[in-house]
Subunit: 157 residues, 3 copies
Amino acid sequence: MIFKTPTTHFLTCGSGEGGTRPNSFDGALLQAQIGNTNLVRTSSIVPPKSRFVEPHPLPQGALVPVAYAAISSEMPGELMSAGVAVAYPADPSQAGVIMEYASRGHKEDIEAIARRMAEEALKMRGQPIGQIRSIAVQHRVENIGTALAAVVLWDPA
Amino acid sequence: MIFKTPTTHFLTCGSGEGGTRPNSFDGALLQAQIGNTNLVRTSSIVPPKSRFVEPHPLPQGALVPVAYAAISSEMPGELMSAGVAVAYPADPSQAGVIMEYASRGHKEDIEAIARRMAEEALKMRGQPIGQIRSIAVQHRVENIGTALAAVVLWDPA
Amino acid sequence: MIFKTPTTHFLTCGSGEGGTRPNSFDGALLQAQIGNTNLVRTSSIVPPKSRFVEPHPLPQGALVPVAYAAISSEMPGELMSAGVAVAYPADPSQAGVIMEYASRGHKEDIEAIARRMAEEALKMRGQPIGQIRSIAVQHRVENIGTALAAVVLWDPA
């Protein structure tokens, strides 16, 4: 194995404004409490037996595996949302699946789409669903904004 | 060194249909046997002396370095393909280079493009070519589909 | 923690021409001395106390965390640039922030944009700025070209 497999995970989200798109993205990461880490984007599995935990600070500069969706816009007044969902199988020896979605629109709608995609992913695996967790955030653009939702994979040891 | 350097690699590909693009991407990953892992995308080197192996199951939820090409489409009837090629230098102390390509079109054409790009990459390094390996998959879209080809970097220890 | 946190970093840049976009990207990586590694893209923090070092060769095939900006073009004659900037806080116990930018245009302009974004990122954190480092490269396209600038995160141990 190249990397240690993550043993915990948490869901987080945030939004931000900035003078540029990257700065508004940075602001969203900061609000989500992951702005001072080095995010390594990954496709999108919660390892079996990974423990669900509350969002918590991570070491500054740490390399952090994360699945996320984000949307940025420079259109003042535009409403946009980002959401993530995790579908956990009833069988705890099997992996959970993360789905991410971001688009213009209300957070309820975007979150529902992420949940349906996560649900379909477990169906495709023939795994009965135990539980679905999700989180979403919406943001109305002032000047330049970003909305972001993430599942952070971690190992506290 | 931050990460362990991969010591084995394999080529794999797959295609899938789903109710959404992310779900069809997930289906393609599952067919390629890497759908239950956390893929970490990387640019595109086979380390010297990395051993070529057959595709094999990976631990669920593991973080897996991978170079891949993928294409998704929602146009029923459209034919699309994804391919990867590895050019290995004649000198085994030197790195091999991976090239990925995905596009509309037949798999023979897409695979040939990936092979030519990998060949050019070794030429650019002044390395005579020992061997080229490649793989490709084509998919005709039913509703929403994805085709994907990948080189997985791994370490069985 | 899943991964070791990087303890050193360096800035590098390069440009290249190739028969295809991926090959010109490969050429730019080679000129930047990171063409024979497996780049793992990360968002964009210099960990506290990370040591600034000169660009140096990395082990072939190693997995290397990197923040970068790149731009490719197939328009002969087009001038394009890529730049990265790191803003270091006056307080060495705090993280530095990397910003990347690539666009058509002169390298002085692109580098200035990256520097301003990095500066804004520290302001957003309420951190007085200690120093800003930056690097940029410009490239005039012959046939198919790429310009790339990167901050490489590493650990020599």
